[in-house]
């Protein structure tokens, strides 16, 4: 592992900005079309899971660039595009409103869906 240098930080930061902006815009864009806002967060997280699986397997199968691509796209862009805090806060809010079925769907759907999405990305990248 390379030491955390100033240049590397720049790659993470450059990836993080479009990742966070895209998450913000995508969730807001789909909010009026969805029954609950948290399904927007769910969608964003699943897309990020698929993409990170694809990225990791492309990197190991074709040696697609080195650590810096992963810093820019994986740590910076996808790390910022996906979110754990909003997901948990929304899960907490559904539990608070005693919407148990919705909470189970959101929680189970995110974890199982996330695992499937990563697996699909890994499989596509190594095929």
């Amino acid at each position: 592992m390379a030491a955390a240098g100033g240049n590397d930080a720049l790659f993470v930061a450059i990836g993080a900005v479009p990742g966070a902006l895209l998450r913000f815009r995508v969730i807001n864009h789909f909010e009026p079309m969805l029954p609950r806002k948290h399904w927007g967060t769910f969608g964003v997280n699943l897309i990020a899971c698929f993409a990170i699986g694809l990225l990791v397997s492309l990197q190991s199968s074709c040696g697609l660039a080195a650590g810096r691509t992963l810093l820019l796209l994986g740590t910076g862009f996808l790390g910022s595009f996906s979110t754990f805090s909003t997901w948990i806060a929304e899960l907490h809010a559904t539990l608070d409103r005693h919407q148990r079925r919705e909470a189970v769907l959101l929680c189970g759907g995110s974890v199982l869906g996330g695992l499937l999405a990563v697996a699909a990305g890994l499989a596509l990248g190594s095929s």
């Binding site: 592992m1 955390a4 930080a9 993470v12 930061a13 990836g15 993080a16 900005v17 990742g19 966070a20 902006l21 998450r23 913000f24 807001n28 864009h29 997280n45 990020a48 899971c49 993409a51 990170i52 699986g53 990791v56 810093l71 994986g74 740590t75 910076g76 996808l78 790390g79 910022s80 595009f81 996906s82 979110t83 754990f84 805090s85 909003t86 997901w87 948990i88 806060a89 899960l91 907490h92 539990l95 929680c107 995110s110 974890v111 996330g114 695992l115 999405a117 990563v118 697996a119 890994l122």
Partner: protein, 139 residues
């Protein structure tokens, strides 16, 4: 969203301000997460370090979003900068899921399950504590 055609200049400026707030929060959030991951890899090596220090980043961000959400009056700028920007980028769902998938692929379903449970329960506790702490800061 401020894209109504009638809004004109003001709407465009508000849009630009919103995006700037999110971006300004996102950079330190992502850098802090990356430093934590690096620290974890240094202290504990590879997988374990990544998992544990991603967990720290996720729980810290979840606590902070609770603090922000507890503020009574709508604080749109604080939410954009701190919540959506900083906490959203400090925490990550994709790396978390990747680590869990890789643990399963290493034939360690026990490890994967423990990480999922600790993250979920820890996250729910962190956001609850954040909400309580956030109420102390209410103005």
């Amino acid at each position: 969203m401020a894209t109504s055609p009638t809004g004109g200049h003001a709407a465009l400026r508000r849009e630009a301000r919103d995006l700037l707030l999110v971006a300004t929060g996102a950079v330190p959030g992502a850098l802090l997460r990356w430093h934590l991951e690096d620290l974890g890899k240094g202290l504990m090596g590879g997988h374990a370090g990544l998992i544990e220090f991603d967990l720290i980043a996720n729980l810290l961000g979840t606590f902070l979003i609770g603090v922000i959400a507890a503020q009574p009056a709508p604080r749109p700028r604080l939410m954009l900068l701190g919540g959506i920007g900083f906490c959203g980028s400090l925490t990550t769902f994709s790396s978390w899921m990747l680590q869990i998938s890789l643990a399963l692929r290493r034939g360690r379903p026990d490890e994967a399950l423990i990480v999922v449970l600790i993250s979920l329960l820890g996250g729910l506790v962190a956001v609850s504590v954040g909400l309580v702490v956030g109420r102390w800061f209410r103005r």
